[in-house]
């Protein structure tokens, strides 16, 4: 079983590379029981989205 620290590492790495089947299974088993890491996973996705929006000149910020 993975602990939370390992899960957060995996979530971060999943933004650079495709996780292996085993890694994905372990991740899934962990977040089934751990709401903190589940939230963390969502936050990672959101960070990337926010960075993309930011890089586009933050057009969503009332620049219309």
């Amino acid at each position: 079983m993975l602990n939370c620290r390992e899960v957060t590492r995996l979530y971060s790495e999943s933004q650079e590379r495709e996780l292996t089947v085993k890694e994905r299974l372990l991740l899934r088993m962990h977040i089934a029981m751990c709401s903190g890491c589940r939230n963390f996973g969502e936050h990672m996705k959101f960070l990337r989205e926010a960075m993309r929006a930011y890089a586009k000149g933050r057009d969503n910020t009332g620049g219309k």
Binding site: C4, Q15, E16, R17, G36, F40, G57, G63
Partner: protein, 210 residues
């Protein structure tokens, strides 16, 4: 702004694009760009030059934009390219060992996790509700920038190369001269910091100042 703004010299274009030459609009845009470039480059002069060039280019082509939003998108795309060029050049001359040294400092997030590697009770990442709505709030972006500025310099630079310029890992590793696992550690640390900062300063407290 000292460069000369070409007057809208054809009658057909004049009325449509007059809003693009509006001083307040340009000044606000310039300030936003400058903040953005300074954050990336941590060099006020380089930032000023990049912004100036991008703006001059945009105004030269003003006629091809349908309005302010289009111009803004274009001008930030140009600025982003200029910043990317400068960063690539700069990283090539940076000593890779110094890049890692800063990051070697004992940053294992031991406050966040207990000895067995599970979240400490009060460090559990919270639910952010519907965070996408924040993307429309200018106050959110101020917090976001503050959090980005809070990242240690090299961590921030590598993170920006990855997430802002969207280089892939191998390209970053090659140009900076670090291994994939070095890079992964730096990106992980940057994301951990940024996440925590956003949670503490925005998602937990709403719009209060820190």
């Amino acid at each position: 702004m000292t460069q000369q703004v070409p007057a809208a010299d054809t009658p057909s274009g004049a009325s449509k694009h007059v809003g693009l030459y509006d001083d307040d609009f340009l000044e606000a845009l310039r300030r936003q760009m400058l903040r953005f470039a300074t954050l990336q480059l941590s060099d006020a002069h380089l930032a000023e030059d990049a912004v100036q060039e991008a703006l001059i280019g945009a105004l030269r082509n003003a006629r091809s934009f349908s309005g302010r939003a289009a111009l803004k998108t274009w001008v930030f795309a140009i600025l982003k390219n200029k910043i990317a060029d400068i960063l690539r050049q700069r990283l090539r001359v940076v000593d890779a060992s110094s890049l890692l040294r800063e990051d070697d400092e004992d940053e294992d997030f031991s406050v966040l996790f207990n000895r067995r590697g599970f979240w400490q009770a009060d460090e559990h990442p919270a639910t952010w509700g519907n965070p996408h709505e924040s993307l429309r709030e200018s106050q959110f972006w101020r917090v976001f920038e503050t959090c980005l500025e809070g990242l240690p310099g090299n961590q921030a630079r590598v993170f920006m190369m990855r997430e802002f310029i969207e280089l892939d890992s191998s390209e970053i590793c090659a140009s900076v001269g670090i291994t994939t696992s070095n890079l992964n550690v730096m990106l992980y640390r940057a994301r951990m910091r940024l996440r925590e900062c956003l949670e503490n300063r925005w998602f937990a407290n709403g719009e209060q100042a820190c």
